[in-house]
């Protein structure tokens, strides 16, 4: 009896494998948001996986026909992939980042998404920040004129900070042009306006400051610029110690730069914005001294 059942089972299995050969496919129609020909391509590419699922999206109606092998996948998986590519559908909403990075013509009206106070708050978030930034830029500009009265080096310092910011952004071209302007400012320093301590530090450091700045201006290779910036920062720090500053300046250190020998920089901001690695390690480092 037992062996009979075994042979039956074996027989059925054999049959089912033979007859499973013609691939069984399931089809389903769902709504997917989108606008144009480009959307169609993106939706279909995101949804389709070879031998598993294919998607045909109708631009007029927004209806997509999903054809898939139900032993391998399901509509959930397909629609999730499509949403992650930026396209809302009845099951899944695209992450905001994915939607925002769609080409402008594809930024459809998000009908599936329920708007919330939270998401509203999120959008003006950027604008308020931009406004704050404008404000600070404005302030920085007034500061420059103020500092010119206070000490000759203040202009130099501001150029230094511009250069530092360019390095934080890892923008070699911007760094080169900032360095060029820095160089002009260095040339314009008048010796007679200096105190004796300032004079001494300036005379000691002037030459190397100018050479290093020239080198930064002369390349847009960010790695080279950063190496020079390390020695420039040491000199500017000495100047700052000699002359004092109008507002607190933070002397900060990245312990990893230059094969972990470390390097310093100066910043108006207490928060770490590492100019030696930029975005790679933006917040790596610590403040070692506050110069006033």
């Amino acid at each position: 009896m037992k062996s009979f059942i075994f042979w039956m089972a074996a027989g059925i299995m054999l049959l089912s494998t033979t007859y499973a050969q013609p691939k069984y496919e399931a089809t389903e129609t769902v709504l997917i948001s989108g606008n144009c020909e480009m959307c169609k391509k993106a939706i279909e590419t995101a949804g389709t996986v070879k031998h598993e699922a294919s998607v045909d999206w109708n631009q007029e109606t927004g209806a997509a026909t999903l054809t898939y092998n139900p032993s391998k996948t399901n509509t959930d998986e397909i629609l999730q992939r499509i949403a992650l590519a930026g396209y809302d559908n009845a099951q899944y909403l695209a992450p905001d980042e994915a939607y925002a990075s769609l080409p402008e013509c594809c930024q459809y009206n998000r009908e599936f998404k329920t708007n919330t106070p939270a998401t509203h708050a999120h959008t003006p978030h950027h604008t308020s920040q931009a406004a704050a930034t404008d404000h600070s830029t404005h302030q920085a500009a007034t500061d420059v004129s103020q500092h010119e009265k206070e000490g000759q080096f203040q202009a130099i310092f501001n150029h230094y900070f511009n250069l530092k910011d360019a390095l934080v952004k890892s923008d070699g071209t911007l760094a080169a042009s900032s360095a060029a302007r820095f160089l002009d400012a260095l040339g314009a320093v008048k010796m007679d306006g200096l105190t004796s301590a300032e004079h001494e530090t300036w005379m000691n450091g002037k030459e190397s400051i100018m050479t290093v700045t020239e080198r930064i201006a002369g390349t847009d290779d960010i790695a080279r610029q950063r190496t020079h910036f390390a020695s420039l920062s040491e000199q500017v720090y000495l100047l700052m110690k000699a002359s004092g500053t109008a507002q607190p300046v933070y002397y900060q250190r990245c312990p990893m730069f230059n094969n972990s020998k470390g390097a310093h920089w100066l910043s108006l901001n207490q928060d770490i914005q590492n100019p030696y690695y930029g975005a790679q390690m933006l917040t790596c480092g610590n403040t070692v001294e506050t110069v006033k």
Binding site: D88, P95, T114, A118, H122, T133, N259, Q280, L282
Partner: protein, 736 residues
Amino acid sequence: MKRKILMTSLMLASYATIYAQKVVRYDLYVKDTIVNFSGKEKRAIAVNGQIPMPTLEFTEGDTAEIVLHNLLDENTALHWHGVQLPNKEDGVPFLTQMPTPPGAIHTYRFPVKQNGTYWYHSHAGMQEQIGMYGSLVFHKRKNDPTFREGIDDLPTVPVILSEWTDLKPENVQRMLASGSDWFGIKKNAVQSYVEAIDGGHFKTKVTNEWKRMEAMDVSDVYYEKFLINGQNQSQLPEFKPGSRVRLRVSNGGASSYFWLTYGGGKITVVANDGNDVVPVEVDRLIIGVSETYDIVVNIPAENTSYELLATAEDRSGSASLFLGDGVRQLQARLPKLNYFKGMKMMNGMMKMNGDMNDMGMDMSLQQMDMNTVMYPEVQAQPQAAGEHAGHSGHAMGANGPVTLNHAMLKAPHPTTLDSEAPVRELKFTLTGNMNRYVWSMDNRVLSEEDKIPVKKGEILRITLYNNSMMRHPMHLHGFDFRVINGQGAYAPLKNVLDMMPMETNIIEFEANTEGDWFFHCHILYHMMAGMNRVFAVGEYDNPLLHDKEMAYRMLQHESNMWHFMAQNDVATNGNDGMAMVQNARWGVGVEWAVGYNAMHGYEVETHVGRYIGRMQWLMPFVGFDYRYRKMGIDEHEKNMFGQVNKKDSRRQLSVGVLYTLPMLIDFQAEVYHDGIVRLQLMREDIPVTRRLRAGFMVNTDKEYMGELRYIITRNIGIRTHYDSDMGFGVGLSLNY
């Protein structure tokens, strides 16, 4: 004196009336089961028929009584992670109890003295990897003075993260110890030469191999699936829009760190490792192996379900939990890691002798995440932000995601220790090497170390320094420790500390409970490789262990097991292969070559050697060679030193050394008992592409070999080689 006793007993009595001591009992039936997480049916262990194990809930003041019924064919034991209890209830086989044998029943009973999120798991063998993990929740009493309105009264969900591999965990350990790069192939993290050249990283790759590093990843094992509460994707529709939910998240994974991100906005961290922290709002956090975090999230809109995404640190996969009812709002996926940037960083951080640059306290508390160089999403951020950020660097920082680190954790109440208690300073350097997968502390594995005696009541202040390339979640049994993180008296209490490569951190705790307490890396495969210590506090008489010394030897033995590996190549010109058994320090290997005719002959070399040093680049050995053949092709009787070598029939004893040179070339010098000297250079497994490996060998007997091997599956490859003895051949390469 008498009055004092009276007072105390009065107080105790009143205490007992208010919080009538309640015994809460759970019965747990541990049984083999078959699961299908990946499309394949595999063996796992279920408790009361489920994976993860059931969530156990108690209220502070209860007595927990948990009865373990072992219905397996093997030993087991349960450990209560983070729980302060009598040592004999701690559940470490051979340390705090004998393992519970098949068919037996073991009762754990302890008073619940804490509140918060904990978890429990098997501490026997590798059962944790195959299902034996579960949430353990200790509720606050209603009138607890530390009760936080708006946090402790929120709806709460236990969330336990884990991962699934189709391979047996014992086999995973063996593959790691044998230097298999199969997991790298599966994860597309081989970091081969062709990939390096394509991406313009050739120099980085060469420097990396020059420094004798094999391609490394942020994690070691390939997992088929990642799970939240035992499911890859699931939904909890019961939460209403506008509400806040507290998730008690435990990482019950055996070796995976998880990034937590949320599709409904910010994450508020309110507790860590069972201890409340001052709430802190972040965009994402990483949860180390065996850590617990309590987080609070919002359900912002109607008809929407928001995704909590747990992404494995190596980005090889993720698991999702949707909160709320309606269309599912996805959270953006974390993109793939940029391995070569990480490699470049590592090159800069590692000295030629395999030491990391010690940065002292400059690197601690996860504030500098070395891995960020590999995160594409962090690098993409400032460019987008830069457009409207002008030259004010501040706005840029504000736009990047806020990531939790340990410096941001602050206890709500002072956690200072008894200032009268004697303080003992200890230092441990976390050591190890990826090439042989040996993990240790101060370059000593558990089997080489005795228990560390500690006086009861002593404060241990421990400095930990990670001198290895991997992160290690260091877990202490039986105590919470303070993490010195700049919060002064409000230093947070934890029981697991993630140690990133090169970090130095200081922890301290008062050793006021007697017993043998395990202190170990909670990555299962590091723990089983020997990265453990035991603090023996006071003179504890454990009724569950009749022979403590014998038991400790068993524990040591379990964390330094022998691993077997073998490879054999069946080719057109002959058959050659090798087999090896090895543990943390010793290796016994046999190599053979068998020709198909007398001219090719056959040859067997046997070596027994000991690996020396932390990086284990040096191995002195003794050997025995046996060879028979009829002179045929390649008739070199004299070697490069003019010594005559009767190749046709040799029986030779030898001594020698094996040393790993830069570029991972094995240099072998061997002297045979007849005075013949042989020097040899060999490199195998040069990663040409993801699946193609090259190798070569030359020696002073004027023998040479070059090979190419294409890896098809975990155990099968196609190999072609040219050998000075055997000539050209093509064949099938099998390995275990």
